[in-house]
Structure formats: structure tokens, C-alpha cells
Subunit: 422 residues, 2 copies
Amino acid sequence: MSASTAPNLIAAVSERRQWDRLMELAKLGAITGADGSPGVNRPCLSPLDREARRLMIGWAEGLGLSVTVDEIGNLFFRHEGTEAEAAPVLTGSHMDSQPNGGRFDGIWGVVAGLEAVQAIREAGVSTRRPIEVVAWTNEEGGRFAPGCMGSMAWAHFKPANAWDEVRDLEGVTFRQALDEHRAAEADLARRPLGGKPFAYLEAHIEQGPLLEAEGIDIGVVTGIQGSRWFIVEITGETAHAGTSPVSTRRDAVQDMVRAVTALNALMTDPTDVLRFTVGQVEVFPNTSNTVADRVRFTIDFRHPDKELLITNGDAIEPTIRSAVKGCDVVVTERFHALPVEFDALVVDAVEDAATAQGLSSRRMPSGAFHDAQFMVPICPAGMVFVPSRNGVSHNPAEYSSPSQLAAGARVLAAALAELANR
Amino acid sequence: MSASTAPNLIAAVSERRQWDRLMELAKLGAITGADGSPGVNRPCLSPLDREARRLMIGWAEGLGLSVTVDEIGNLFFRHEGTEAEAAPVLTGSHMDSQPNGGRFDGIWGVVAGLEAVQAIREAGVSTRRPIEVVAWTNEEGGRFAPGCMGSMAWAHFKPANAWDEVRDLEGVTFRQALDEHRAAEADLARRPLGGKPFAYLEAHIEQGPLLEAEGIDIGVVTGIQGSRWFIVEITGETAHAGTSPVSTRRDAVQDMVRAVTALNALMTDPTDVLRFTVGQVEVFPNTSNTVADRVRFTIDFRHPDKELLITNGDAIEPTIRSAVKGCDVVVTERFHALPVEFDALVVDAVEDAATAQGLSSRRMPSGAFHDAQFMVPICPAGMVFVPSRNGVSHNPAEYSSPSQLAAGARVLAAALAELANR
């Protein structure tokens, strides 16, 4: 029996302790959803974010882990291995939330990492490699867009100053917020940005309905589907709703409707794998008795297949141009991420851990975007999912039960111990 | 030769004086449009509105007209006839503007009424009946919705306190604004609400493209098309754009697109007379990576034919219900006005005046809504239109030339003199 499946390691994961930590963190930025559910609004680099980090730091220090931060605010807790120079196994996620967010998205991955390390230490499981738990800065992009800034900078996908001029709704720049944040954490030891981990494994709630619908305990994540995000601006001409003949109008709302209808045809997928969403629509001047001269809408298009992502994504602009009647069209692609595949080393470690613990599991791609995406070029990476009730996320109604989360932490602990002894 | 076609009356209308008054009024609330055009933002019952009224009152008093206001703030200037007890001829329009409005909509009808009365007096044309020039309170509905409050209350279509609780964007109620306004005009003589005019004739810019396109000087308005306004609320469920299968979504944006597409089919009109507009669309939560759970959009539907207005208007809700896929639908009708026809007495007076002056004219319905609508049950009513450049209105780019407006004032003066001697 390997270290990672030792019964004492599995038993050392505490369902209660993990849940209590999550609930204590959920008090910081607590909100109530439309249906009465308790949610969280904790923007990155805010005083609430720092309060949550201090709570986590306290727990980590209590365990004897060393604490460091890098120049973009990524926070690390390090468990030493028997070989101090061996490349570490990295685990974690993010602590910021959506503005109308839930209590589990992101934060559970950090708490579970800490729980796994605590179990490994308390069970006396020896690991050759160090294990580091990370909380990445600004995964959600809710305060400063885009998300995943911390992991992108760490992976040198973008320089750490790439977003200095990005502003939040109050006009504060990311640089100002980060400088204030670093000053408030000046007592923490610094570490350089970047690294060469042996592997990366992120625990996260599914944020989709599949695991719950199929009654499966653990999602073994095989990769992250690709995403292409667009902004479409349609410009026509205002006119009086009562006097201007319909035939002569350049009506931006009507051309938006034509464009979306044509895009729906382009994006039809009988296999229901393709994701096509128009989630944001803004109309100007937006009054009932004036023909709109401008509509701005977003497209969120995702697919696990690279070829389809490229072909259909490239067809978006010509499809819109063919569909509109009288308006001008500008299509801007604001994000383009090809699908990524996780490494068999990590995927197998997760699957083996679930199987060894008698948990049901299935391999599945991640529909959502995660920091793990940016670790793929750096080291073998993977993720473990637990079920989300009704698949709801980015909402206070987001929920995974204490036992579902404990099962996830047990799989994480076993897989981390396994990887840290490679 | 009747009094109304006397050459001295036509010559007494001053193109320059009328234009100068319009331009002086346009300074009060002056704004600049996106294209650099000089526009006006003068909300009803505001200090700017009162300043404009004082300017107009000064000109009226200079002519020797008596000035009165009623309890909802409608402002009257009275020219006495030879028979003091004869029912007066009423003319006028409104002085408030749209928030991003032009220099002519409404205000020209009041200035033209004053110009016509001044010409009648200066030409020494005798009228049996009094002529009253009115500025109706809140026609636009830009600050307090709906519009036409002053004329509706005057015609006893609604009681004068019907809108007491309506609030503007700052939270001020209509009642508070009206009380403040009346206190500021406490020096003006009061008159009771309502009356029994012999006839009503309103001058207004066309706000549509027909007169300009056909090179015609004067629109002889035969009536106002009917309007039905609706608010549609579509409620579905939020979901993560990356994880939720498209087949299981209750996507409010997609159901809005389906609804508008189906309504377009319902509202198809090869004769191009029907007006169907979706001008306002609001999406919630309105973020690019979340399936929207709520869309609210408006419908503005107008037609001069009563039967078609009823049949197609009543088909709106079932059409939407058949079109949507998974969302709940609530359709609320918030305004319902059947088409009105103006009286031959007034229509003929306008047409005859234009013809006698050698001006080209055409009979036409009004596509826009006007205070004249509410005079129809009270007395013979009608309107005279002048061309609008490019049909643009409710925008700083709104424009009618000094000579076009002078032609309109000459027709108004002649028609008023004619009616006032009936």
C-alpha cells in the first residue's frame, strides 16, 4: 500500500474542519442571494480579501507552513519534503469571488489544499517533494478584468505589469490596488514570481450539472475547453418610433436580433457540447419610443475541440455581416484560448486516488476557465471536481455538501501525496 | 377677400422675429449633440422651464395679451375678440423638451401661436372670437412619465392629481415639482382647469421625413395614429456560460430574440404604414459569461387603422408566448390610445390657408403623439406640420429652416383668423 492510500491519511482529512473553515471565510463579504441563499462578494485586493488571507495565513502558520507572497500578490504556503531541493507539487486555487458569488468557487481549492497538507502532516505521511498551496490573485476578473491575472503572470503568459492601467468601477487602477495590497502585506516574506513545479493539481467545484445528475462523487478533469470571447457593436441611426417608416430604418436592435438568430444557426450542435452565450446586451439610447442607433453585445463561445473552435469562431464576424440589414458592424475578439489537455501523470493520480477510496468518478473536460489552464505549459497539471448542486455557480445558491467537499479533499490529499513521492 | 387671407395679415408674420425668439429660447437648456448640432435639454417644471415661460410671458404682455395659469401649470395668453363671451379658438403646444432634444419640437407651436396672434393684431385683423395661445405642461414625459399630462388633465381625460406620486430620476414627485412651480408663478393670474374652445389648432414640426422627401411646404394633419405600448418581461434562469449545456438553458436573451423575431413576422406590413419598435432592452445580470435570467423590453406599436391596432396589438402576447422556449413571460400594456381623426372644420381651414397662400400641402396622419390628441373629444381639432430635415427629432440634429417655420406660422395665422371669425 502506497503512502497516498494509507488509511491514516484518508482518515486524517477532517470533513468538519474543512467545512468550518469555509464557513468562517464565507463571513467575510457575506451577502444574501435573491432566493435567500448565503453568498459572498469578496473582490480581489480588497480589505475583505486581505482579511480572508490573514485567516488562511493564521491556519497555515499554525500548521508550521512557511508563508510567502510574490509581486502580483500570489500567496504560498509551503510544506517541506524530505528533499528540500526537489521540485514541489503545487496545489490551490483563488480566494476572490464574483460580485454576486457563492461560498465555494475558488476558495474551496485553497482550503482543500490546506486540509490535504494538514492531513499529510498529521498522518505522518512522508513526502519526498515539498507541497505548496497557492492562492492566485484575481481569478474571477470581477473587480479588474480579465481574470487569472495571478496565474498568468506567474506562468509568464503576461508580464506582471500588463494590467497596471485596468480600472475598477470606482476608477482605482489595478496597480494602485496592488501597491496598497502589498503595503498591507509588507510583513510577509517575498518570493520571486514564477517557478518550476513538478506538477500542479487544483481542486474546484464543478460549476456544472453533470456530476450531480449522474450521481458521481469525483470529476477527473481531462482538460479545459477552449474559449473565444467577442464584443459586437452594431451602429445604425436613431429615429422616431411613431414617424419613421420601418423600411427606411437602420435599427440596431433589429440587426442585433438578426445577428443572434444567424449565430444560433452557425452554433447549432446536436451533441450539446458546444457552448454559445450572448449574456450581455446594451442598447442606446434605450428609450421605448426611439429606434436604437447602437447595440453592443458579447459572445462567449467555448468548445473542447480546437478545429471547431477555430472554424466556428472565425465564422462569427462574416455570419453577423451577412445577417444585418442596414447597420455597421464591428466585431472585436477580446479573448482567445485554445483548448488545453491535462497531463496523464496528474489525471491518472486523481483517478487512481478516487478508485482506491471506493469513490465513483468520471473523466470530463472543464467547461469553466481556471488558473490550471496557465500551468499546462509549465508542468504536468490537472484538476479534481466535486458536484455542484443544480450546477449553479457564480451565485449565492452555489452549493456542495460537507461530505462532497470532504471526498474531494481526500482525493486531493492522496493524489498530492502520490505525486510528491514521485 | 376674407380677413384670413388679407395680404397684410400674411405680411405681418415675421420670419425673423419668430426665428430670433426660437433661438433665444434655445439658449435655455442649450446642449450640443453628438454631431455638434445645438440642441436643448429643458425638463418640464424645472427652473429652465420657468425661465423660458417668463421670456414668453414677457413677449405676450408686451403685445397686451392677458396671462393666466391653471392648477397643472398650463399657461395661457389671451387675445380678446370682438365678442368677449364667444368660445375662443385655442392654439399652442408645449415648451418642455426631450433630455437630448432639439430646438423646435413643441416650443415652435407656442412661438408660432404668439407670432400668429401678433400678426393678427399688428395687421389690424378683427376676430369675433378670442384666440388663446397655450403652453401645455409636460408633453414629453421626459422628466415625469407619461407625457401629455397638462392636456390630459385639461381635457378631463385624467384628474389633475393622477400623477402626484410619479417620480423623476432624482426621486422628486410630480406633485412636489408642481407645487414648487406654482409657488414660483404665484404672481400669475389663475384660471380654472378645462374649457370649451370653439376649435383647437396646433402647429408642430413633422418629426418624420415625408414632407421633406416630397418637397412639400405644409402638412395638413388629418389625425393621429393609434398607439399601444407594452413592456415584456422574460424570466429564465442564470447559468454558467462555460458549463451549462445549451439544451437545458432557460436563456432570457435567446427567448427575447425568439419573441422579437416572431413579432416581426406578426407586424410585417408591405404598405410600410405600421410602426413597430423595440427601442429599450435591459438584460440581467448582463455579464458576458453568465446566461441571462431576465430580459425586459419595450414594444411601441402604432397604426392609423383602429381595427388593425386592436387585432395586432391583442396578438402580441400570444405571439410571444408561442415563440419563447423555456422562459416565463409577462406582458403589460402600459398605454393604449386608439387612432383619432381631426375635424373637417379645422383640417379644411389649414388646407385652404395653405392653398390661398400658394403653398404646397398634403394631407397626412401624424405618426407622433401630440396634445391635440386630447382635444378631439372637446372641440374640433387639427394640426399643421412643417418639414423636418431628414425626419430627425428628439435629437439636437432636429431642424426646420426659418422660412419653413415662417410658412407654417403664416398658415396658422390665416387659419386661426378664419376660425375665430366663424
